[in-house]
């Protein structure tokens, strides 16, 4: 599992790390219980500030995506993410809204927009 960050895009680096790890977990490249590199190692490997890595890990831990054992490393959490269904849906809603708005403005039909979601899910390998 290799992460890449690109400062030139202007997207905060901690968000880039968060989304890549979430993506890897959703796609099955990382599985429950897999070990993640330590903050120090990931910072040195990516040549980025350790505070940035720590911020990403803290956010992921708060979201229940990873868990940290004091002195024992960082792991992909079991039952990712441990949230109530309603909470999961609430988090997804802004993305759905964005998709709907952009799709409508591009004059795409409802079916064409929905098809894109299906295609994206297929590409992830339909882990459900």
């Amino acid at each position: 599992m290799q992460l890449h960050v690109s400062p030139a895009t202007g997207v905060p680096l901690y968000l880039q790390i968060e989304s890549q790890l979430k993506h890897a977990i959703a796609a099955g490249a990382l599985k429950q219980g897999d070990t993640l590199p330590s903050v120090r190692k990931l910072a040195a490997d990516l040549r980025i500030n350790p505070n940035t890595v720590a911020r990403a890990y803290q956010n992921l831990e708060r979201d229940g995506v990873i868990r940290t054992v004091p002195g024992g490393g960082t792991f992909v959490a079991d039952n990712v993410p441990g949230l109530l269904k309603s909470e999961k849906l609430k988090r997804l809603k802004p993305f759905a809204l964005q998709l709907a708005v952009e799709g409508t403005q591009l004059r795409l039909s409802r079916d064409e927009i929905l098809k894109q979601v299906h295609v994206a899910l297929d590409e992830l390998g339909e882990r459900s």
Binding site: V5, P7, A8, G10, A43, A44, R47
Partner: protein
């Protein structure tokens, strides 16, 4: 113990007519890797030389590691390592000789760190300093500073003459030996791409004053470029809308804070949003520094499209 490794309060250094440093308020958090950015002549080196006790401030005050500049300079120097803009060392000594010469001056000196640095940065340690290339001189100065094991590392243009491979190794060294150890690095540079990668705080200085000081990730979240098309797009440039460049029915906005609200407002007026993207450090730098020049008016962010109608 204060939370700041470097703190200045209205620091000033004037040379007869020139106000090289003009009321500077720096807040460098302990444990940060702080990028101090500015154009040539913006006041970076004067600030650093004043902090190091090489220049006497005209006004204001500064503290490093909670000690007063310049009254407690000796104690400050014991705990601070410095690479100056000139990159000079005694010219007839070799790297190995300089290591032996510098070692007894510092309680926290580490031969292991010197050896690691020499190996990683590929420094020829048995050549006289005067026979080294510019890049190798820079590297040897860096080695002397890194091996001191200081709590605070001050680097004035540390990337001068370094090739991309060595540059990469230097960033790795700074992260491994400084950032993850909770020590503070304060570096001035023009190389925004490198700073953008490793720094977590930046300060942008121009004409001796600080234009911006913030956590780098907050800067990335704060500044946004929005491309929109539509009729009667708003043109009022204010504190939130930093620039609006029109070409036909298209407009490129640069906004600060609350881009989401501005996008929603544009949409409610029937505009189509083509693209919303964050600004990188280089773009924010140009935006802030160009704003200081009187003649550029609204054309900040100078994209080719923005320049073409007027020229």
């Amino acid at each position: 113990m204060s939370e700041f490794a470097i703190l200045t309060d209205g620091l000033m250094k004037h040379y007869s007519e020139t106000r090289a440093v003009d009321g500077l308020h720096l807040h460098v958090p302990r444990g940060s890797l702080y990028g101090f950015l500015g154009r040539n002549g913006a006041g970076k080196t004067t600030t650093i030389r004043t902090l190091m006790g090489l220049l006497r401030p005209t006004g204001g005050s500064a503290r490093m590691l909670d000690m007063r500049v310049p009254e407690e300079q000796i104690a400050i120097l014991q705990r601070t390592a410095y690479v100056s803009e000139k990159k000079t060392l005694p010219s007839s000594m070799t790297g190995a000789q300089l290591v032996r010469f510098n070692r007894p001056y510092y309680r926290s000196w580490s031969d292991a760190s010197a050896a690691k640095c020499a190996q990683r940065l590929e420094i020829p340690m048995d050549q006289q300093f005067k026979r080294l290339s510019l890049g190798n001189r820079t590297k040897l100065c860096l080695l002397m500073a890194l091996a001191q094991g200081a709590e605070l590392l001050i680097l004035d243009e540390p990337t001068l003459g370094l090739d991309p491979v060595i540059m990469d190794e230097l960033l790795k060294l700074l992260i491994e030996d400084y950032a993850v150890e909770g020590r503070t690095v304060f570096l001035s540079s023009h190389r925004l791409a490198e700073v953008e990668r490793v720094a977590d705080w930046v300060g942008i200085i121009d004409h001796g004053k600080l234009l911006l000081e913030a956590r780098l990730d907050d800067i990335r979240t704060e500044y946004c470029r929005i491309n929109a098309s539509g009729n009667a797009l708003p043109v009022n440039i204010g504190p939130q809308i930093l620039s609006a460049v029109f070409s036909g029915s298209l407009c490129e906005y640069v906004v600060r804070n609350d881009a989401d609200n501005f996008v929603a407002e544009l949409r409610s007026q029937g505009a189509t949003i083509l693209d919303v993207s964050p600004l990188n450090l280089g773009e924010v730098f140009l935006l802030l520094v160009r704003k200081e020049e009187p003649c550029t008016s609204g054309n900040v962010g100078a994209t080719p499209a923005a320049l073409s109608p007027s020229t």
